[in-house]
């Protein structure tokens, strides 16, 4: 793996850790008595899971020395953005 892609991997993981941490914080603040709580719970837990899956992917790929695929990272980012938007809508 080149130094450039290694730097990119660190940046991606750093951002994902922040996203995962923030969504975990939101999960703890949800009012479970509200009807919208279910939707928020599902959306933010999904954000957490996707962040975790992407961090795992980056770790696994960098460990084997392969380059990080653009499509999985882009797909993951698009899904995360969509879920974040959905988090504001529901």
């Amino acid at each position: 793996m080149t130094e450039q892609s290694e730097r990119m991997a660190v940046r991606i993981v750093f951002l994902l850790v922040i996203v995962g941490f923030a969504s975990s914080l939101v999960l703890w603040t949800i009012d479970t008595s509200l009807a919208s709580g279910e939707s928020l719970f599902a959306v933010y837990l999904s954000i957490d899971l996707i962040s975790f899956a992407m961090i795992s992917y980056v770790y696994r790929v960098t460990k084997t020395g392969d380059s990080i695929g653009r499509i999985p990272v882009l797909a993951g980012c698009v899904l995360l953005v969509a879920l974040l938007v959905a988090g504001f809508v529901v």
């Binding site: 660190v10 479970t32 279910e38 599902a42 999904s46 899971l49 899956a53 795992s56 460990k63």
Partner: protein, 527 residues
């Protein structure tokens, strides 16, 4: 450094010398766990790189689904009361009063559906790539029994909410068991129904669902994992030949493959959460005999194909035993597959008959399920059933034959790595110069295969539309819109059949193998 410390430092996850700070920190963390749990060293042997592929992890994902069901089910058990009087009200209480109760029920149900679907996909993948060959026969049989246990989960869990839909469907299932020959019928009846009272039945179903079946499944899982450790992961049967060294390289179970599984599990969990959010469950009304009389009893979708077979007119009354016998024969044949498919090669190219049979099975199950969904409670005329099931089988067989001709014609002889190295697949006639071998697609083949798939899809829509139109004609009388829809479906079906025949004709121009066998096809044949 002591000998023990030196040995530990040579483990695969020890921080490498000269690595970057973040790499060292991560590797140190992994190493800490590895040293204490011995995950990569003592417990499980490493697996080859080619197993980093979702198709190799369908069974593992079914286990993940089982774990999710365990967690959601355990929470519901706190509130659920398994008696006919309180089953529905306690389920309703979970829906209305427990925080996220409805969501919990929805996730539990959809994960159960996913588990059944994943188990089916795992089985069919195993069938097509022939993982049941020596020495993995017992693994296959164990997997099949696990599949039956999974269906048992579905059957027993469906009754528990005590809705009119679930109770009526269970009554149909229990009634079918009575038609089985003795002593099998008596034994199953004793196991699931007992004295025949509602309270006895629900308690037995609950006991089977939360204690007996999970226990049996876990025991079988341990057995299967042990056999997997003994035999290792089976080699792929397609792709680059021979398998490159890079793909054969071994990687540790912990952390590499564990992380891969967690990655898949996280994606699966997300899918389940979002599907549950998009399609929340609605609880049907409570069961009462009066209300049940107004409903057309229908089992859940995974049993619908069996129920549709039983609804064929010829199997009405005393014929029910014959129908159940036929379905049982299919299940027994699947369990005993390693002893029926005696060929030594695992290659798809050399197993046309078995692959086609598998495709027909999948096609028939899909057609029967959709058909059953469209015709709840309707008796199917025998001629109609013969036409639909026969046409499905013929179309799939034709498409399969065509696809084989396209993909595996003009084959260069080669040795598949799976045949050369795996004890599950010793050297076959194919590897010693027989006409079938593996080769990569070229563009023309890809286009032809795409055409076949398109024709198959068109044919499926045609069959589906024709069934739907015929049912509407019978149930609602002759209408112009129904006749139009029926004509369109027949036109689709005709195009699919004509297209398939034409494509086969074009393909046979080069080889002439159909022409040699079917004399009638010589008419108009041009070289």
């Amino acid at each position: 450094m002591s000998e023990q410390e030196e040995e530990k430092s040579q483990r695969p996850n020890h921080p490498p010398e000269g690595a970057a700070t973040h790499e060292r920190a991560m590797a140190k963390l992994v190493h800490w766990f590895d040293n204490r749990l011995g995950l990569s060293y003592e417990l499980l042997r490493p697996a080859p790189v080619y197993s980093v592929n979702p198709f190799y992890w369908l069974g593992a994902l079914a286990v993940v689904a089982f774990a999710i069901q365990g967690v959601t089910g355990a929470i519901m058990m706190i509130y659920y009361i398994p008696t006919p009087l309180q089953a529905y009200s306690s389920t309703l209480y979970i829906f209305q009063n427990v925080s996220y109760g409805r969501f919990l029920e929805t996730v539990h149900l959809y994960t159960a559906y996913a588990m059944i679907m994943l188990a089916f996909m795992h089985m069919m993948r195993g069938y097509f790539v022939s993982v049941n060959k020596k020495p993995r026969e017992l693994m296959w049989i164990t997997g099949m029994v696990m599949g039956f246990v999974t269906l048992g989960f579905g059957f027993t869990g469906y009754l528990l909410p005590w809705t009119v839909v679930s109770k009526s469907a269970t009554d149909v299932g229990v009634g079918m068991m009575a038609a089985l020959p003795q002593p099998l019928s008596g034994f199953i009846q004793f196991l699931v129904v007992g004295g025949g009272t509602d309270s006895g039945t629900i308690l037995r179903f609950y006991d089977l669902h939360v204690v007996v079946l999970p226990g049996v499944l876990l025991l079988l899982l341990v057995g299967k994992m042990y056999m997997l450790e003994a035999h290792g992961v089976s080699e792929p049967v397609a792709g680059q030949v021979p398998l490159p060294e890079k793909k054969r390289r071994l990687i540790p179970i912990f952390p590499d493959l564990t992380i891969y599984l967690l990655e898949l599990a996280a994606m699966f969990g997300t899918a389940m959460l979002l599907i549950s959010l998009a399609f929340p469950l609605d609880l049907a009304p409570e069961y009462t005999p009066t209300l049940a009389a107004q409903y057309a009893s229908q089992p859940d979708w995974y049993f619908l194909w069996i129920y549709q077979v039983l609804k064929i007119q010829v199997f009405e009354g005393p014929g029910l035993t014959v129908a159940l016998g036929l379905v049982s024969v299919i299940f027994v044949a699947l369990v005993l597959l390693p002893f029926l498919d005696r060929g030594t090669t695992r290659r798809i190219a050399a197993r046309m008959r078995w692959v086609t049979l598998g495709l027909i099975f999948v096609g028939e199950v899909a057609v029967l399920t959709v058909w059953g969904y469209l015709t709840p409670g309707a008796i199917i005329p025998t001629e109609q059933a013969a036409l639909v099931l026969g046409a499905t089988a013929i179309i799939i067989a034709l498409v399969s034959a065509g696809a084989y001709k396209v993909i595996f014609r003009k084959l260069p002889v080669g040795t598949s790595s799976s045949d050369a190295a795996s004890p599950a697949s010793p050297a076959s006639p194919a590897s010693s110069g027989a006409p079938y071998a593996t080769r990569s697609f070229n563009t023309a083949s890809l286009w032809t295969a795409t055409s076949f798939v398109a024709l198959l899809t068109l044919g499926t829509f045609g069959i589906g539309g024709a069934i739907s139109g015929a049912v509407q004609l019978i149930s609602q009388g002759i209408r112009v819109s129904t006749l139009w829809s029926l004509s369109l479906s027949f036109a689709e079906l005709s195009v699919a059949i004509a297209g398939t025949v034409y494509l086969l004709y074009r393909l046979d121009l080069g080889t002439g193998s159909i022409r040699r066998r079917v004399k009638a096809f010589e008419v108009g044949w041009k070289q």
